[in-house]
């Protein structure tokens, strides 16, 4: 435990010095401010309080931004150490590779949590100032916060795995961007195209829901939308959300960080300094 915290402490300091903490927090804050400004006009959703509406738009924002931030922080984790030549020495210390990764993980997750908290905090404050009934949306906001952490954790862990597989920061960055595009943008487009082509057949009913929750980003969106009916109408894939139990989506976003960490540890074990 002390070893994990020792490595987390060093990693947090490095992120602070490299301005990563500032960049992450500023990025989330900026997007939240823009989102709040855009959403301050009266919306057409009946019966929904301002904060619930904000949570719905934050959800669609987080699906893109949280994985991006997570991958940006994590792609350098192993490849950067290989490149700098800092790996041989630390691997001769009585600390396991899993512990080293967990230390980085704790630090990176803390930074992400900080950024997300600041961003959502700003958006929530804006909503509450405008709408006195907005406090009704607080449970949805809290749910959005911890699921965002899980989503971020999944992509941080996957980023470590990519970093260990690539072994060079340049290649790791390329892999991370490719993965983000594939999982966040192309995956949904591909599924959508398949559903349209299938037009309500076997794929749409039996395969599509599972493929949707297999992707942590989609599972995240589904869980948050399914859990708050008030906002389900605002979502494009609301229809699909109703056929998938929220518990399955939740299981997916809980499992992904664990799977990612296992994959990352296995890939890191293969790296010879």
């Amino acid at each position: 435990m002390t070893r994990i915290f020792a490595s987390a402490g060093a990693e947090f300091r490095i992120a602070l010095r490299n301005r990563w903490v500032t960049i992450a927090v500023t990025m989330m804050a900026l997007f939240s401010i823009v989102l709040s400004a855009a959403g301050s006009a009266p919306t057409g959703v009946l019966g929904a309080d301002k904060l619930s509406v904000t949570v719905a738009s934050l959800t669609s924002l987080a699906v893109y931004l949280v994985p991006l931030l997570a991958l940006l922080m994590s792609f350098d984790a192993v490849a950067g150490e290989v490149e700098r030549g800092t790996l041989p020495l630390v691997l001769t210390y009585p600390v396991s590779r899993a512990e080293l990764l967990l230390g980085k993980f704790v630090a990176h997750l803390m930074i992400l949590g900080l950024a997300v908290a600041v961003g959502y905090g700003i958006a929530a404050a804006a909503a509450i100032t405008i709408d006195p009934h907005a406090s009704a949306g607080i449970p949805a906001l809290i749910r959005l916060f911890w699921t965002s952490l899980l989503l971020g954790a999944a992509f941080i862990a996957i980023g470590y795995a990519l970093s260990a597989i690539a072994r060079r920061p340049g290649a790791a960055a390329g892999l991370a961007i490719g993965l983000w595009l594939a999982m966040i943008v192309l995956y949904d487009l591909g599924l959508l195209a398949a559903v349209v082509a299938d037009s309500g057949g076997y794929f749409t009913i039996h395969v599509f829901p599972w493929m949707l929750i297999a992707n942590p980003a989609d599972a995240f969106r589904l869980y948050n939308l399914a859990a708050s009916e008030a906002t389900a109408a605002a979502a494009g894939i609301g229809g699909a959300a109703s056929t998938i139990p929220a518990a399955h989506a939740l299981a997916s976003i809980i499992l992904w960080p664990l799977v990612g960490l296992v994959l990352a540890t296995l890939a890191f074990r293969k790296v010879t300094p």
Partner: protein, 301 residues
Amino acid sequence: MTNLTLSQVTKTFDQTRALDGVGFTVASGERVALLGHNGAGKSTLMKIILGLIPFDSGTVTVMGDAPGSHAARRQVAYLPENVAFHPALTGLEQIRYYLRLRGENPGAAMGLLERVGLSDAAKRRIGTYSKGMRQRVGLAQALIGNPRLLVLDEPTSGLDPVSRREFYAMLDELATEGAAILLSSHALTEVEARTDRIVILSKGVMVANDTLAALRRQAALPTHLQVIARPGAADAVAAQLHGARMNGVMVNLTCAHDEKLARLGQVTALGAMIEDVEVIPPSLEDIYSHFSLQADGRAIR
């Protein structure tokens, strides 16, 4: 007690045979120098001892355990060649981190940095350090927590002459406390005076493993006698001793190790014609070349 035992260690990279049947031991309190040309396999051997890279065959025992095992790592300190640290951390933060990884009190960091003469720069980022200063951070971390075996890859590279002397003084202390030390170096003269035993690798083959005195005897390299004659007597001295006159007063003689005393006798017999005489034993450079070249010859045959 034997802290490190190697036997028949062989390692091949793709086509290169980096190590070929290397075997030696380092006992508690012993300082062993690992010498060899560039690419002889020194760093490879050290990485194997630390469990950083696998080896093909042979056995390696570190403090009675497998190399790289948790138990072995707790008792072994390493200084890699070209040691690197994260440039964003300060020297103090870096050492505190390493102390915590070893389960030691991070409060000891400043003391360690003082020991290597870095207390003034302790709170500056390592990115601003000079090469020698980074090397000192590397030395400081190798001192953490009473290691029983220190594996130091070119520890004095980048250090100034004064720091080198301080470094070897520190090694003496560690060895006196019972640590086993294996260090590699290209600076033969400093190794000569400061280590107990010398291991020479040549293209992955161990060609020597003994004390310097024993190696000197084995190599049977000629000893040089430098005779200084009184002014005007140089020619006569050179003729009498069958030596070569170098300049106005100096005559050079070469003899085998066991002829040395007889030769000195002849010199002293000349009495008043002699001003001074200097005995120059074969240097470590000579011995090193002898063993490395001998191995080369063997490889060709």
